[in-house]
């Protein structure tokens, strides 16, 4: 559940898992515990889900940085101009948290899942890479993209 942040989707995938487990019950060897076996099917389902979702998503880097002649420089209206450092001076704790939630909701599922593995479950990087089927350099690239998006989203909340 913590990987998906979507209760309905999580329920669906759990159900799918039981169904595929039942149809493949004869291939289950008693070498591992049933729970481990089911968990591994579920994890596979989650990774498949993300892979499908990911192809629909474009890399946000080109909306933050010039990709042409001024290569790699901030696009003017996307450059950080006010620090979100002081967000808590302008908003109550509850407001800050609900704005942050709104921003998190705009992220692709997989990235949101990675962020919650990292911060909520405090998993080690290699564990996260394994769970999400990515390489260590994928991981920090995704964190970079995610923080750009979150930062921009929070900055817009402050401006309005």
């Amino acid at each position: 559940m913590s990987k998906l942040r979507d209760i309905d989707l999580a329920k669906d995938l759990v159900q799918d898992t039981f169904v595929s487990a039942l149809t493949k019950l004869d291939t289950f060897e008693q070498r591992s515990k049933l729970r481990t076996w089911l968990t591994s099917i579920l994890n596979r389902k989650i990774i498949d889900h993300w892979r499908k979702a990911e192809t629909r998503y474009t890399d946000p880097i080109s909306s933050f940085f010039n990709q042409d002649d001024k290569f790699g420089h901030w696009i003017e209206d996307k450059a950080p101009n006010t620090s979100i450092q002081n967000i808590e001076d302008q908003m109550t704790h509850e407001e800050t948290m609900s704005e942050l939630q709104e921003c998190l909701n705009t992220l692709p599922d997989k990235w949101r899942g990675i962020m919650s593995s990292k911060y909520l479950e405090e998993k080690e990087s290699d564990q996260i890479c394994n769970d999400f089927d990515i390489t260590p350099s994928n991981l920090w690239v995704i964190v970079h993209r995610t923080k750009l998006l979150l930062r921009d989203c929070l900055q817009n909340k402050l401006d309005t």
């Binding site: 759990v14 039981f18 101009n81 967000i87 920090w140 690239v141 923080k147």
Partner: protein, 77 residues
Amino acid sequence: MKNCQDTTQDIERSNFERLSGKDRLGIRLHVAMCRACRCYLRDSKKIDHLLDKKLRNLDEYKFSREEKSNLKQRISR
């Protein structure tokens, strides 16, 4: 000198692995001159902090008894 895209990426990479001396110096020099990336560097830490607080407060979701029996029914079909 590195551009803003690479610098902000190096800033995040530094949380995962030890950067070379050249890369660390690169960040320091760039940030000293670039206001936007200086802002990013500060905010990156702030976002870590906010996420840490935010995600820690989530309750785990458990299937209710009703949902469990529903699930069982659908599976046994």
